[in-house]
Symmetry: none
Subunit: 212 residues, 2 copies
Amino acid sequence: MKPKAASYYKQNRLKQLRAFCYAAKTGSISRAADQLYLSQPSVSLQIQALERELNTMLFERRGPKIRLTPDGQALLEIALPMVEGMDSLRDTFAERCGDLNSGFLNIAAGESTILYILPKYLKQFSDQYPGVRIRLHNVTGADGMAMLRADEADFAVGSMLDMPDDVSYHPVFHFNPTLITPLDHPLANRDHVTLEDIAQYDLVLPPRYLST
Amino acid sequence: MKPKAASYYKQNRLKQLRAFCYAAKTGSISRAADQLYLSQPSVSLQIQALERELNTMLFERRGPKIRLTPDGQALLEIALPMVEGMDSLRDTFAERCGDLNSGFLNIAAGESTILYILPKYLKQFSDQYPGVRIRLHNVTGADGMAMLRADEADFAVGSMLDMPDDVSYHPVFHFNPTLITPLDHPLANRDHVTLEDIAQYDLVLPPRYLST
DNA sequence: TAAAAATACTCCATAGGTATTTTAT
DNA sequence: ATAAAATACCTATGGAGTATTTTTA
C-alpha cells in the first residue's frame, strides 16, 4: 500500500476539461456528449466534478439552457489550447519527428574531409531530410573525439589511427569505412550493424576513404 | 449502445505523458514512480502504452538503464509544457479568477466623478479585492464611450445624455444610476439585472448621482 | 550479483451506460 | 408539452497494486 499522497490525485482532468470545452463551444451538454461519443449524464458529471474541484460555477444553469459564467469563460481560455494540444498531440508528434524531422545534426570532421568528401553526401542527406539542420565542425581528429565525448557531435568523420577505447567503431563494409559513435549511442553496443540499422538515424555516411 | 467511435479514444493521454515526462526528467522509471506516488510497473506500462499508441520508441532500454531517444526528446519538448500546464491548472485558474483575483479593472470617468464620487467606492472595492489593480482614466463622456468600444475600459461612469445603441445600459434602481458595459459583456444581453448578478463581477458601483 | 525494467496476475475504483426525474420555457 | 439537464443506480473496463522474472552493467 503506497502513501496514497493525500490529495495528490490530478484525476482525469483532461476528460473533464474536454467535456467542459465541448459544452462551452456547443452551448449544450447534450450536443457535447454527441460530439464526444459519450452519454449526456457522463458529460454532465464530468463538468460537475470539475466545478467541484475548482470550487466554482462554470455554467449558469437556467433550466434546460446553460450559459458560461465569467469563471467559465476564463477557464475556457486556459483550457481550450491545452485540450486541443492534447488531442492533436499524435499529429504534432508525427509531424515533428516522423518522416521529415527537425533538429540538428552535428558532424565533426577535418577540413579536407569537409571540403572533398562530405558535400556530396550532405547534399543527398539534406534533400531527403530538409528539416534537419546540419552543423559542420572543422576540427582535427583528436578534437573530434573530444566533441563526441562531450556530446557536442553526433558523428565524427575522418582518419583515426589511434582508436580510444571509450569510443566504439564498427566496420560496415569490407573496405575500410568506419562508423564512429559515442559509447552511449544506440548503435554503439551492437555487434552487427546493418544498413537498415543505420538508416533510421537520420544520416548514413559511407565515406569511401578513411584517410584524408 | 453508442456508436463507439472506432479509435476515437484518446484514453488517459495525460497520465501517460506525465509518467513519460517524469521518467525522462529523472532518467529512471522507478524514480518517476516514486515522485508520482505510483508503482514502478504502473509507470512502465503507461510509457509502453504511449509508445504503442505513438508507434515509436521513446526510451532506449539498455538493461536497467533507460535513455531518451531522439523521438523521446521531441515528445518531451511537446509534452512537458502541456503536463505542467495541466498540473498547475488549478492554480492558474484560481490566480486568474479565484477569490482574490489579479488582473486590472479599467474605469473611464470624468474628472469630477473621479474626484467626488468614486473614491469612496474604490476604497471599499480595493479593500475587498486587494489583488485587482484599478486604472482610472480621466476622460470625457464621449472618450469614455470610445474606450468601452476599444475594450480599453470595463466600465464608464458619468453622465450620459446621448446613449449610442451599440452600448447597452441597464437602469438598476428606480432613481437614475446606470450600468454601462460593452455589448459583448456577459451582462449586456440580459433584460433583468439583479444585484446578485452584478455582485459577481468584481465591482459593484452604485453611483448615486449620474450627473457630475 | 545487484539494480532497475519488464511480465504475470489480481482486484476494485470509477468512468460510463440506461432509466428516470426535475426544471424552465 | 417539450427538450435539456440532473439524479439514481448498475455494470464492466482498465488502472494500479503485489509478486516474480529478466536483463545488463
